[in-house]
Amino acid sequence: MTPTIFEQVQGIASDLFGIPAGQITRESSTESIEAWDSTQHLNLVLALEETFSIQFSPEEMEQMRSIGSTVKLVENKLQNSPR
């Protein structure tokens, strides 16, 4: 079964922030996840760009403040991309 985009983002965030995937919800945010600092934010952006072959604009990078908003951004990008 192919994992959903949420599950994939969850997996990446779990690796990067060092917390079990089950504890990462759409509500998890830069406020609630201690390890989500500016360095890890850049790593998250890079991991998502690499995994989904997409590119975020500087404004979009700013909007990624929670897992929910991040998943939504990825989904929008994948819908609008030609592939």
Partner: protein, 635 residues
Amino acid sequence: MSSTPKIRDLRKEADDLIASGSAELAALRLAELWRGESGAGTAAFVVSRYEKLREQLPLARYRLAILRSFTAEPAVPLLRAAAFASGIDLTVQLGDFNAYPQEILDEQSSLYRFAPDGVILAARTADLAPDLWNQYADLSQPAVAEAVQRVSKSFEQWVGAFRKRSSAALIVHSLEQPARPSTGLLDAQSGFSDSGFSQSGAIQQINQELRMIVAAHRGVYLLDFDALVARHGRLRWHDERKWLTARMPIAADQLIHLSREWLRFAVPLAGKTAKVLVVDLDNTLWGGVIGEDGMAGIQIGAEYPGAAYQALQRALLDLSRRGILLAICSKNNLDDALEALQNHSGMLVRPAHFAAMRINWHDKALNLREIASELNVGVDALAFLDDNPMEREQVRTALPQVNVIDLPPDPLDYAATVRDVPAFQRLVLSDEDQQRTELYVAQRERSQAQQSFQSKEDFFRYLELEAEIAPLEPATLARVAQLTQKTNQFNLTTRRRTEQQIAELAARADVQVLTIRMRDRFGDHGLVGITITRDESEICEIDTFLLSCRVIGRTVETAFLAHVASSAANRGCRQLSGWFLPTKKNAPARDFYAQHGFQLQKQNAEGSFWTLDLRQQTIAMPEWIRLKINEGARV
């Protein structure tokens, strides 16, 4: 796409194995995970798990400082994960953003306090030469020439200052060319050097100067960053948005290539090199199965599909010239395989290129063990190339120390895969490296001859052993450092040293660095042993005594020790002393001091300390060795 079910299972398997205390198996899963999915998320996971296992695994430790003019943070976990998977526990310190000149020049800087083993200087053209990068079209020719001078001078100053303050290895990035030269097509039309520099010509000239600076210093290496960027495509390499928002100039999917390039330096520097490449035959060295398809049926030659295998054979010959021994481990009928190797017109490698062969129907792990012992190397010095994933997995499980290379499905990718293996990288090449295969073939003839003699002594006399002892010379420095880094078995203290450290020792009046060369009727062994001794108040202490494994047991070690003892006595020393520091591999040297009349003085957790009273005792020189002493001039 990442996070496939299989990959997620590997994470769980690794965690379960860690929880149950199976460190080696857990490390295998982590390495497999990393090979299958080399991204930022996996890197963080792999690093965090290896950190839990570091005490239980035979990892080489290496401290690497990275001086940089850009955001390199995201490349660090990628580098560390790859290093762990290559058996290296890499501690990385990133220098402050753009602070590299101060860090190099200031002796008290965090760079030197970190006490690195190696340092990477990664500065971008845009930061070092902003005028050449951004305003080339505005510059007059004298201003261009001045910029070239200024940047070259800076490099010279930094490298020189670094060498005065540290004996660590230094890796300097070359400068990259712009993807779009500011004068467009004119850049390629305009002159180079005498008629004035084009933009790319000016950057090329700096890189040329940098090459010369690097060559003039020991332990300083060039990382051809421009070639790295070109290899992966300039336009794909850069990410202008990340540069403007996060000072990260490299695209997300290209960062892995930078970390891999860094790893290619870290692996030889940390001593994690492979000395032998053991190859399978059918469907690896040629297409098809010789026992079924026959000479006319196998694929090897200049045309497709045989060309893919010829390209791999060409890569193997290149490795052999680099001093890496080739060996065969194949499930085959010996006669069929030899017939193909000897007589097939498309074959580039021939039996004489292989230092050892196991062509039989035995288990491959068993054969690999035998090859290692025949060539006198540890199993961890072997790399293994086989098209069959089952064989690879079996070898990995049975012998986790072996560097098992994963071949991609398409044979056209085989050669590149082998060329990219970091364990085959070398940063210096000695004469011995280039002749190594011939040395081992002579060794095989020697051991065949040995069987026809009754006593060892008769065999030694027949060998007509000649040894030459000389002080360290500039020409032998690279080999001496290499031997301290690579010799594991007959090595009493296993103290690893860089060229720079050896040169510093040899310059001291109280220290003697001696080398020994050996030849016999079958050929020249080259430079095979080193001693480093230090005199202090009439006591000569042996800091280092080591001998290349291929000459152990020929009594040359006795001759060398006898010379060390007699020359110490001649200098007025009354005692010769030395430590034996045991490792997992140096058992062959354990009884060396006891066998030569030394007394055990003390023993602790680190090892045992031995002394010889030079006023009462001498060490007999073996009569079958003709010894030549070259007094030479000190370095």
